[in-house]
């Protein structure tokens, strides 16, 4: 055992050196028009060596360290608490949620524009993750092409506004419905597939949509994307300095306040907030309805679910369609926020990130997924100071999460469905 550990630890230390030294140990220095390779400062080299030693020691004593870490959760006072009574918990939950939503409503007026912008993005990801949670977390269908529905929503708005001058509010339901239709269409051929096969087909579907958008140059502008997507209006009031469309008034003139570019950002944030809350509430409701229980039954045991007279087709299609619907929602908001979209925004990595959010949050758990969406979206931004290492930190955080909480941040707690006595 010890000999094995020693060998393993040595190997790990060497790998650390081999990886870290070429990256950190040399600097590119510009002198005139040339770039010269220089050795790094002694301090950096010492740090690299120290890191290798640390890895060596950790690997050598990993059993002891992991045993200690395994005990750590027991120190957590929350771990042993008794589960709260159901009625009390639900009450507390709704109070906390209301407070958070009220706080979120007023929050953007006190922070910087960048923070509000980031928060809007977080809310878009929350919508996406909640939608995917229906497909992956509740119905247990692994969908790797979820971003396709997001793209459908975004492009629906972009194209409708470009060719027919549709406004945001008109395009929002249309984008969501069209995405839902795509979900339905994709659902049919993949119904018979499960697990890996389903993942591959959905992955292919995601790529098909992206490549289509990239190559239908005459319609979508191909890789050049579509720009000039209008901002949402508030009862015909525009948020720009000058009114673009006839018949509209401008927000700052109507209210008689000075023009500020922040109004638009805050307004978009509020729209995203309202839509995210609607998404969460609708899905929460669905989870408690028979269709939600049917999703879970199908995930738990397909044969048993079918033996009870549930139609596999209807249950799977409903999950796909509803998931896609909310992706379309999110896509429309995204297009409006960016003002410009191109197929670049809808690559496979996006699907992977949304899936990572669902898995990190705890499959099926809404609050967990929301927390994970916040964490996954803001972490790379917060770590921006570390510039190129931020993805490294992001990856490390993911690995640690999977080691300590493989079931996710807040795993789904099954809500107990009780029948009231009917007297």
């Amino acid at each position: 055992m010890a000999a094995h550990n020693l060998k393993h630890a040595l190997f790990c230390a060497i790998v650390t050196l081999v990886i870290a030294y070429p990256i950190l140990g040399f600097n590119l220095v510009a002198s005139g028009t040339d770039i010269i390779l220089e050795g790094a400062k002694t301090r950096t080299v010492i740090l690299v060596l120290l890191a290798a030693v640390a890895v060596f020691l950790f690997q050598l004593f990993r059993d002891n360290v992991m045993a200690l870490l395994g005990k750590a959760p027991a120190l957590n006072p929350l771990a042993n608490r008794q589960p709260m009574e159901q009625g009390k918990r639900l009450k507390l939950e709704s109070i906390v949620l209301t407070l958070i939503i009220v706080g979120a409503l007023f929050w953007p007026f006190f922070v910087s524009r960048g923070a509000v912008d980031l928060a809007t993005l977080v809310l878009i990801y929350i919508m996406l993750a909640l939608g995917l949670n229906v497909v992956v977390g509740l119905a247990g269908l692994l969908d790797l092409g979820y971003v396709a529905f997001y793209a459908v929503g975004a492009y629906t708005f972009a194209l409708l506004s470009q060719y027919y001058g549709f406004s945001f509010w008109l395009a929002l339901p249309l984008g969501a419905l069209l995405a839902a239709l795509f979900g339905l269409v994709l659902g049919f051929p993949v119904l018979r597939l499960r697990g890996d096969y389903l993942a591959i087909v959905t992955l292919g579907f995601g790529e098909i949509i992206r490549i289509l958008l990239n190559n239908m140059t005459s319609l979508t502008g191909g890789p050049n994307g579509i720009g000039g997507i209008p901002d949402p209006t508030l009862f015909g009031m525009e948020f720009g300095r000058r009114v673009k469309e006839e018949g509209n008034t401008s927000f700052h003139e109507t209210l008689g306040i000075a023009y500020s570019s922040e109004h638009k950002v805050i307004f978009l944030y509020l729209i995203a907030l309202v839509l995210a809350v609607i998404t969460a509430l609708v899905i929460r409701r669905l989870m408690r309805m028979p269709v939600g229980r049917a999703w879970e039954a199908l995930r738990e045991d397909e044969i048993a679910a079918r033996s009870l007279g549930l139609s596999r087709t209807a249950v799977k299609l409903s999950a796909f369609t509803i998931g896609a619907f909310f992706a379309g929602f999110a896509g429309t908001v995204f297009a409006s926020k960016q003002g410009f979209i191109s197929p670049e925004s809808f690559v496979f990595l996006e699907s992977a990130i949304i899936l990572a959010i669902v898995v990190l949050g705890g499959m099926g758990s809404q609050i967990g997924v929301i927390l994970a969406a916040i964490a996954v979206t803001t972490l790379p931004e917060l770590a921006r100071e570390f510039s190129e290492y931020r993805m490294l930190i992001f990856g490390a955080a993911m690995v640690l999460m999977m080691v300590w909480r493989p079931q996710g941040l807040l795993p789904m707690r099954r809500t107990h469905i009780e029948l009231k006595a009917q007297e």
Binding site: R293, A294, I303, S307, L308, L419
Partner: protein, 235 residues
């Protein structure tokens, strides 16, 4: 009056024919046992009744209605319930929630009534009402699977190897319950490898061999039949 009739049913998995023209009749209020060795086609026969896979020729008639080409979901909602092989309870759900899934298409009042009825049949389930189904013993899970099937208030219940992997005492208990179901007027179609008990309980029995019905008689006669004794009752 017949509950379920299979007329010259052929079933294929791809190109392989698993049932070569099987005819079975189950009358209302009867317990009918189907016995046979591994791979004889017992489960295939049941699955054909459920429409998954569908019979490639022949007819399946449930209460006078031809259901051969009906989709599985609609068959399972027309007064027939199946307890699948290997129990297949929803392990993450509690006992109560499992039962409620069984009454998925019924009203709340109906669910409540059938739930009380199931708890009367299986007092053990009542004790475990809020326990996750996956944490229970095999016998309890089998009771739950039967209870779940009863939740839809079926006229006929199909059991696929209910004694599989259970202790003799528990098997005895399960078979007692099956006898009780007959008293309540529920038709039972029982598929078993445990031939002795299955035939003892049954009004009539069928012996299935490599996709064909070999023998068909009353349960008592089959038990006494030397061929059956040799092949299925250990001589």
């Amino acid at each position: 009056m017949s509950m379920l009739v299979l007329e010259d049913v052929h079933t294929h998995y791809g190109k392989i024919e698993a049932l070569h023209g099987v005819s079975v009749e189950v009358n209302k209020g009867e317990i009918v046992s189907l016995i046979g060795a591994n791979g004889a086609g017992k489960t295939t026969l049941l699955m054909t009744v459920c429409g998954s896979p569908q019979a490639s020729s022949g007819r399946v008639i449930l209460e006078g209605r031809d259901i051969t080409r009906d989709p599985t979901a609609s068959i399972m909602r027309s007064g027939i319930a199946i307890v699948p092989e290997g129990r297949r309870v929803f392990s993450g759900l509690t006992v109560e929630e499992n039962l409620h899934m069984g009454g998925f298409f019924n009203t709340k009042a109906e669910i409540r009534k059938s739930q009380d009825h199931v708890y009367d049949l299986f007092p053990r389930l009542k004790e475990r009402e809020h326990q996750r189904a996956g944490t229970m013993s095999g016998g309890e899970q089998q009771m739950l699977a039967i209870g779940r099937a009863l939740m839809s208030k079926p006229n006929m219940i199909i059991l696929d190897e209910p004694s599989l992997g259970l202790a003799p005492l528990v098997i005895k208990q399960i078979f007692e319950i099956i006898g009780q179901l007959r008293e309540e007027g529920i038709t039972v179609f029982l598929v078993e490898q445990n031939a002795h008990q299955a035939l003892n309980l049954a009004d009539r029995g069928y012996v299935l061999e490599t996709g064909r019905i070999r023998l068909h008689d009353t349960g008592k006669n089959l038990l006494a039949n030397p061929d059956v004794q040799n092949a299925y009752l250990g001589g």
